[in-house]
Amino acid sequence: MARFTLNGTAVSVELPGEVSLLHALRGPLGLSGPRYGCGAEQCGSCMVLVDGAPRYACTLAVGAVEGKAVRTVEGLGTPDAPHPLQAAFLAEQAGQCGFCLPGILVSAAALLERDPDPDEAAIRAALEPHLCRCGSHNRILRAVRRAARAMREGRAAA
């Protein structure tokens, strides 16, 4: 049994504490955004925010987030109220297959929280843990810059 906050709501999961957070999120908690890509912290598909910091959900025990705040792409925004990053990714058409995007979006959100005006190198560094095989990298970089600009100016990115 683990209790934590998921995208702003208190949740509890009836799973042994050593089961991965990713299994908890995709299993009993019913989310789809965090994804299995490698199970070894090498691709970033499973990335979520734990107390605001990017963490690999594939190797993190669900017991370790007891009492903490977990945020996934589902918690960033909705089609009606998108996060500036989500609006910017749509505006730049930053994606192809889209499998990697939920992880990339949460890492980018964490970056913009701590650095509202990151330079190119800082954005690349924040996304370095993430693999994109379709080659959407440059669009993704543009979308993050666009969102940063919009957030600094206090408006939606689209």
């Binding site: 299994h23 299995y36 890509g37 989500q86 297959c97 889209g98 995007l101 095989r133 959407s136 970089l141």
Partner: protein
């Protein structure tokens, strides 16, 4: 995207029926493609599938245009047997050609049928009617709509060859960069992939792969109960575990792997001497093209080179996944396969069930660049689900399975000898290609080609891969015939008849190695002739569309005014994909430090009509970055028994820190047939990088990937 072996055998002009465009010729019933609904929506049913390339959006745009309805009214139904048009496989950059042209014609036909019915009903002359977002308007106002006439019976007929799609200038939706229909789900994390399917009562399974290729399961020891009540499913040497919860299936798989004893043997060649193995392996020989010149010019310069690439992997970021459910004698499969009908054919063979008893439904997977593990995992799911009738079973491959057991693009060795006359003009060209075939897609050979089909009781090994016919672009020989004018030409290929590592189609098939070999040879000949590489290519190109992309890329890159910089270099690469599809030229800039890094790419492409220009640009850039990754980093590694590059550490691909800046220019050709975009940029990018390395370091690298080690070896070889 998509990487594909193409068999145009679907279209048989010799079948005596009036010619219809694309796949409409063999799927002639209009109701199979289009349904209008009374609530103001239209469903279109392409037989092609979304692979991450954005095809659904492009197809919806084509339909919206021809029907005169807004894009928002179009619903695209994922392909499924037995109702979807059978369009073979979504591969070879052919979706717009095969399916787009079919849909365009079918929609034009459906629109004409509906308007003529409206004209009859209302007495308004047909030529006075027009369609505005699905409403039929006469001179005096609305007289009906598709929605009011949403009667399936109207489209229960064969398409007519007489239907006339709109002229290009009248298109309003096709040709615009409509936002992708699937992207919102993807940025909000909605359940969209086959991985996200959650059917009532669904169980989770994992396959326990052998420790070596071709190993046989000799013994499975008993042990304490498995976590979460997991159970073992075994069929011969196919071994899997099944549990209610996914984490229990994962834990049980690790447990069972420790209880299995396998009989294994050395089956793989020596990785360190792979080029020698290619030269010596048993093979079939074929001549791709032979054109002997009369009175060939005297050769003033001759250049020779052998170009080697190890096998490379698909390396999708998501792993292969499928769900299957048996009910009575029927099995239903959800899959990210590129061809639902082809998969069904091979499933039927392995499962020994009539194809009619198998329903195969497409659901999206992670990016697909060719024949990956999608079909294999569908069989895995069906094999496991057979043990629990009525319960859906989801199988997800591990990263190690994905990188270690999916089909690979084969190792290739391409040898070129070319000569030029005293004026520098190409005089002769000899090329030999060696490697395994580039297609083992399901549904095409006598024996099934699905991975686990070789491991079940009574299973047979996957037969050696074949090469698709040259008429469809070929496999190993794809793009091996230079487009440059040469009077004396001979290209031959050896297809290996043993296949230690399973191979199949991956983006571009043989093109990346062939184009690299051709373009490197052209650079060498240009240097001998004292000519500029761009000018030298243009001098040998008769095709104006080819010349135009080469000039455009050179202009974008500032090629003519480029300055030499220490440790930096620029190179150019050109190809017309399959020698029959999109034209693409790439100028690459590299920085050569401890390793070579691609810093910039300038790409010019001519894909004919671009249904969605932004989507095309996205695909072209994606293909180019795939080329950068393949050229600079990728190699499947193995010992004598197993693939050892089965993690992202051992099979690295391009990361954010290594991505070059990319500029893409599309040449505008709205009046020309659409040609597909996903594969055209990869091979020219590989070639341009090789040229840039030569420019920066003065060394012609003859082995991929272009790592520090392979560059050093090339320097040592002089």
């Amino acid at each position: 995207m998509s990487g594909g072996a193409d068999f145009r055998g679907l279209v048989k002009p010799e079948d005596g029926r009036p010619r219809l465009p694309g796949s409409l010729h063999t799927n002639r019933r209009l109701s199979q493609w289009i349904t209008f609904h009374a609530d103001g929506r239209v469903t279109i049913r392409p037989g092609k599938v979304e692979l991450g390339q954005g095809i659904l959006t492009a197809l919806a745009q084509i339909a919206a245009d021809e029907l005169d309805v807004s894009l928002g009214r179009i619903r695209v139904q994922p392909a499924a047997t037995p109702d979807s048009p059978n369009e073979g496989v979504t591969s070879g950059s052919l979706s717009v050609q095969d399916c787009g042209t079919a849909l365009r014609h079918a929609c034009a036909n459906a629109r004409a049928i509906h308007l003529s019915v409206a004209a009859q009903k209302t007495g308004v002359p047909l030529e006075a009617l027009r369609v505005e977002d699905g409403a039929f308007l006469g001179p005096a106002g609305p007289v009906g709509s598709y929605w009011a006439q949403a009667d399936d019976a109207l489209l229960e007929c064969e398409a007519s060859p007489e239907a006339r799609p709109k002229p290009p200038a009248a298109r309003r939706v096709a040709g615009t960069s409509a936002p992708r229909l699937d992207l919102p789900d993807k940025v909000f994390g909605a359940a969209r992939f086959v991985h996200d399917l959650r059917l009532p009562g669904m169980l989770h399974a994992r396959v326990v792969r052998p420790p070596a290729r071709g190993a046989r399961l000799a013994e499975l020891r008993e042990g304490p109960p498995l976590p979460g009540g997991a159970r073992v499913v075994r069929d011969g040497s196919f071994l899997a575990v099944l549990a209610e919860a996914e984490h229990d299936a994962e834990a049980a798989a690790a447990r069972i792997a420790g209880r299995a004893r396998w009989e294994e043997a050395d089956t793989l060649p020596d990785e360190g001497a792979l080029a020698d193995w290619l030269r010596e392996a048993p093979h079939e020989h074929s001549v791709v093209v032979e054109r002997v010149a009369n009175g060939a010019a005297q050769a003033a310069h001759t250049v020779r080179g052998a170009f080697f690439r190890p096998p490379v992997a698909h390396a999708s970021v998501g792993t292969s996944c499928a769900v299957a459910r048996w009910s009575g004698e029927t099995v239903e499969v959800w899959t990210h396969s590129q061809g639902v009908y082809n998969l069904r054919t091979d499933l039927a063979k392995v499962l020994r069930v009539a194809p009619e008893r198998i329903i195969v439904r497409h659901a999206e997977g992670a990016g697909c660049y060719g024949h990956n593990g999608a079909d294999d995992v569908a069989l895995d799911a069906a094999l496991v689900a057979r043990a629990v009738p009525g319960r859906p079973v989801r199988v997800l491959w591990s990263r190690a399975e994905e990188l270690g057991w999916s089909p690979f693009s084969p190792a290739m060795l391409v040898e070129v000898e070319a000569s030029a006359d005293a004026a520098g003009n190409l005089a002769s060209w000899r090329c030999g290609i060696i490697g395994n075939g580039h297609s083992s897609r399901p549904g095409r050979l006598q024996e099934p080609t699905l991975l686990s089909g070789a491991y079940v009781e009574g299973g047979v090994p996957v037969p050696p891969s074949i090469n698709p016919p040259l008429a469809g672009g070929g496999g190993a020989e794809r793009n091996a015939v230079p487009l440059y004018r040469v009077p004396d030409l001979r290209v031959a290929a050896r297809r290996l008849t043993e296949m230690p590592l399973r191979t199949s189609a991956l983006r571009g098939l043989g093109a990346p190695v062939n184009v690299w070999a051709i373009e490197s040879t052209m650079d060498e000949l240009a240097a001998r002739a004292g000519a500029d590489p761009v000018e030298y290519r243009l001098r040998h190109l008769d095709d104006p569309r080819a010349a135009e992309v080469v000039r455009a890329a050179a202009e974008m890159a500032g090629w003519a005014g480029r300055a030499r910089r220490e440790g930096a270099g620029m190179g150019v690469g050109f190809a017309r994909y399959k020698n029959a599809a999109a034209w693409c030229a790439v100028v690459a800039e590299v920085a050569a430090e401890a390793t070579v890094r691609a810093t910039r790419l300038w790409i010019a492409a001519d894909v004919g009509e671009a249904i969605n220009p932004d989507g095309v640009a996205n695909q072209v850039e994606g293909g180019a970055l795939h080329g950068v990754s393949m050229a600079l980093k990728e190699a499947v590694r193995f010992d004598r028994r197993r693939v050892t590059s089965d993690s992202w550490e051992t099979y690295p691909i391009l990361r954010f820190s290594e991505v070059p800046a990319v500029e893409v220019r599309l040449l505008q050709r709205p009046d020309e047939p659409p040609l597909g975009a996903g594969e055209c940029a990869l091979a020219p990018t590989v070639a341009a990088l090789a040229g840039a390395i030569r420019d920066a370091l003065g060394v012609r690298v003859r082995a991929m990937p272009f790592t520090a080690e392979n560059i050093a070896a090339a320097m040592d070889a002089g």
